[in-house]
């Protein structure tokens, strides 16, 4: 296998992009990444997108976007793994370059979610749950994560305020990210008094519905060195699956797919979790980040709540988690999220993250997750 580097990244402002279509937001970010990479040639393209069919009525997306970008007849594939579609697209792009099949691969993630009503969007997202065992019984994702939160609170004494601390921290970080959908701070008080969505989760515990895209350009490490431009190596990739249905899990409070994916990615990189300087993780709900910090091994089982309260995962803490603002503040265009995490990791390792820069960061880990953890994709990035 060849070593793989990221030589270009692109992302535009996320939000309710009513004036732009899916292909427009894809094109804008893809062109930024290609420009950043300083390459002319693209050999192949992988796009992560969860549900363009339900959100904008468009399938056959990979060819559509290759055409829109003016790159036909390059091979292009769309990757779907619910909210981890972006992370999985990155992994597929990595495999394509590592295998020697292609040299310069564009990996993008995109989702256009605001062309439908809130109900339709909730339905589309709900298809990431087990329809027969969850969806048909009326469960939606806020409901599923609420049950996980209740179980975690019951089992480990995690508090309502600790959940709120995740949102407060990520909004604090996101307030320094000009591309974030919600670049403002929130208080614990505001979170715990915001509108109730699914007890105990309130609206400020939930990531938003977002239009957005992100893109990276990958190439073999040798080629990256020749460009003379800053690049970041993908040192490890790991992916794992779990039951989609929450009811089939042994433990409602544990994300096994994240643990396995992280172990694989770290083993491949030859690193331990303590070697990592920053983490971009899938905080689709505040409880998710608490459980992810446990599954990654940043803290022990059940210790995620106290950890955020003690500032362990804050910017100045031992393990800065979600310097970008996370899904909570940056936004969550589902298929784009995993690629945007890579964009943040690369910016941080190139020292270009501005006000939210983790000082001296040399290694970053991204964790992207589908559904309630039915799939997890983890990548380890290293600066040269």
């Amino acid at each position: 296998m060849r070593d793989v580097a990221v030589i270009g990244v692109g992302m535009t402002k996320w939000g309710e992009l009513w004036e732009k279509s899916l292909r427009t937001i894809f094109d804008e970010t893809a062109l930024l990444a290609i420009e950043d990479a300083g390459v002319e040639r693209i050999d192949s393209m992988v796009v992560g997108c969860m549900s363009s069919g339900l959100f904008v009525g468009q399938e056959h997306l990979a060819s559509l976007l290759a055409d829109s970008l003016g790159r036909i007849p390059i091979p292009a594939a769309r990757v779907e793994s619910a909210c981890s579609s972006g992370g999985l697209a990155l992994r597929q792009g990595f495999i394509e370059v590592a295998s020697g099949l292609s040299d310069v691969v564009l990996v993008a993630g995109v989702e256009k979610m605001t062309d439908v009503t809130g109900c339709e969007a909730t339905y589309a997202l709900g298809t990431a749950a087990d329809q027969e065992y969850e969806g048909y019984h009326g469960l939606t994702f806020p409901g599923l994560y609420a049950m996980m939160a209740v179980a975690h609170m019951h089992q480990y004494g995690t508090t309502r305020e600790q959940l709120a601390r995740v949102a407060v921290k990520n909004h604090e970080n996101g307030s320094k990210n000009p591309l974030a959908q919600f670049p403002f701070k929130v208080t614990v008080d505001a979170v715990v008094n915001s509108v109730l969505v699914a007890d105990p989760l309130r609206i400020l515990d939930c990531s938003p519905i977002t239009d957005g895209a992100a893109a990276v350009v990958l190439c073999p490490l040798d080629l990256a060195r020749k460009t003379g431009k800053p690049f970041v190596r993908i040192a490890g990739t790991g992916q794992a699956t779990d039951t989609i249905a929450l009811s089939s899990r042994k433990d409602l409070t544990w994300l096994e797919s994240t643990r396995v994916a992280a172990q694989k990615a770290l083993a491949m990189a030859g690193r331990k979790i303590d070697d990592i300087h920053l983490f971009e993780v899938h905080d689709c709900f505040t409880i998710a980040e608490i459980m992810i910090t446990e599954a990654l091994g940043l803290v022990g089982k059940g210790r995620g709540g106290p950890a955020v309260e003690e500032g362990l995962t804050s910017m100045g803490g031992k393990y800065p988690v979600n310097p970008s603002g996370g899904l909570k503040a940056k936004g969550h265009p589902v298929g784009a999220t995993g690629v945007a995490q890579a964009v943040e990791a690369v910016k941080q390792l190139r020292g270009e993250a501005g006000e939210r820069q983790v000082k001296g960061a040399k290694r970053a880990l991204t964790q992207n997750m589908g559904g309630t953890g039915g799939s997890s994709v983890v990548h380890v990035f290293e600066a040269e």
Binding site: W18, E19, T117, V195
Partner: protein, 348 residues
């Protein structure tokens, strides 16, 4: 010089509180009250509709105008809840007030701005000298689907204005319209309840058009927010008009007299027109009033009125809007409200 010679308001007595609706749907009343800045809304009685309310408001406008209804050359009713799909509201109104048969009538529909469209056209015909007086009404018994956010605001009310060239209570200094194709709210034929684009109804719809029309009109008239004693914006909820005012540089003091929505709800075509009747009720001669409506689909009409001395003579000739809003109220429980609004029906 053309302008308003008489105006009248009508608001049904019945009210339902936000808490009463929220209770039924298991919704969080405080968040609706805070988020939409709504307390309660008006509800029409079973036999009330856009036509009956238009008649009430028009009779009051006639009282203040003190004119012979036979001199009214045009009757326009703007509403998105005309009782008939085919058969005009305007003919019933014209007949009821004694303006027939030498009169031109038309029913208008443009979501929440049909009322100001009626005003725009009636005023234009008066300015053109084609008619002596023109009657324009904005009235609605608006529909909100059960449990939808709109149910907390969809209210009932009517405002009527008679335009003419003499005996003015408010002179029209300028008008302006701002329109684009923006589908933020709609109801197709045979559908009972409208649909809306959620948050899309905000920035690209309401705010773009309301601020666009207000700025366009002030530029055209070479005026600025500080020149106006009062401003009235369309009021789909409590928050939107206040934010529009903030964006444009108006103070809450300028907005408040016409800001009826927290206790009235959104009377759709009657919304900004009723805000204007309430403002005329307290305005002093010489005051400038800016009115900007909004209709989904989408567009805004803007008017600048200058209040004349005659306002003090006619004000008390008909009930003040504040009296209609705050006195003699009858609070409904959800069940009765549901019956009145035909959400439940007796077996045939």
């Amino acid at each position: 010089m053309a302008g308003i010679v008489g105006y009248g308001a009508y608001i049904p007595r019945n009210r339902i509180k936000v808490e009463e609706i929220a209770k039924v749907w298991g919704a969080d009343a405080p968040s609706y009250k805070k988020g939409l800045m709504l307390e309660e809304k008006s509800v029409p009685s079973p036999d009330q509709d856009t036509i009956t309310m238009s008649v009430e408001a028009s009779k009051r406008a006639l009282r203040r105008a003190g004119i012979d209804p036979r001199e009214i050359g045009a009757v326009y009713v703007g509403s998105e809840s005309h009782p008939y799909a085919v058969k005009p509201s305007g003919t019933v109104l014209a007949e009821a007030i004694g303006a027939t048969p030498e009169v031109h009538t038309a029913d208008l529909e443009f979501a929440c701005k049909a009322g100001t469209e009626a005003m725009f056209i009636a005023l234009s015909l008066v300015q053109a000298g084609a008619i002596k007086y023109g009657l324009a009404v904005g009235a609605d018994t608006s529909q909100g689907a059960p449990g939808d956010a709109l149910e907390y605001s969809a209210a009932a009310g009517a405002a009527a204005f008679i335009f003419g060239q003499d005996g003015l209570v408010a002179e029209t200094l300028d008008t302006y319209s701002y329109t684009t194709d923006t589908p933020d709210f709609w109801r197709r034929e045979y559908q009972y309840y409208p649909q809306h684009g959620g948050r899309f109804t905000g920035d690209p719809a309401y705010f773009k058009h309301v601020t666009g029309a207000a700025r366009g009109l002030m530029d055209k008239a070479k005026m600025k927010p500080a020149d106006f004693a009062y401003v009235v914006f369309h009021q789909p909820n409590g928050k939107f008009p206040l934010r529009a005012g903030e964006i444009l540089g108006f103070t809450k003091k300028q907005i408040e007299p016409g800001w009826l929505v927290p206790r009235l709800g959104n009377t759709y075509s009657g919304s900004s027109p009723l805000g204007l009747t309430a403002t005329l009720d307290i305005a002093k001669p010489g005051n400038l009033i800016l009115v900007v409506s909004y209709g989904s689909g989408a567009g805004s009409d803007g008017f600048i009125f200058k209040v004349t001395k005659r306002i003090d003579e006619v004000r008390e000739l008909a009930p003040l809007t504040s009296v209609l809003l705050d006195q003699n109220k009858n609070y409904l429980e959800y069940g009765v409200y549901a019956k009145y609004r035909r959400k439940i029906r007796k077996a045939e």
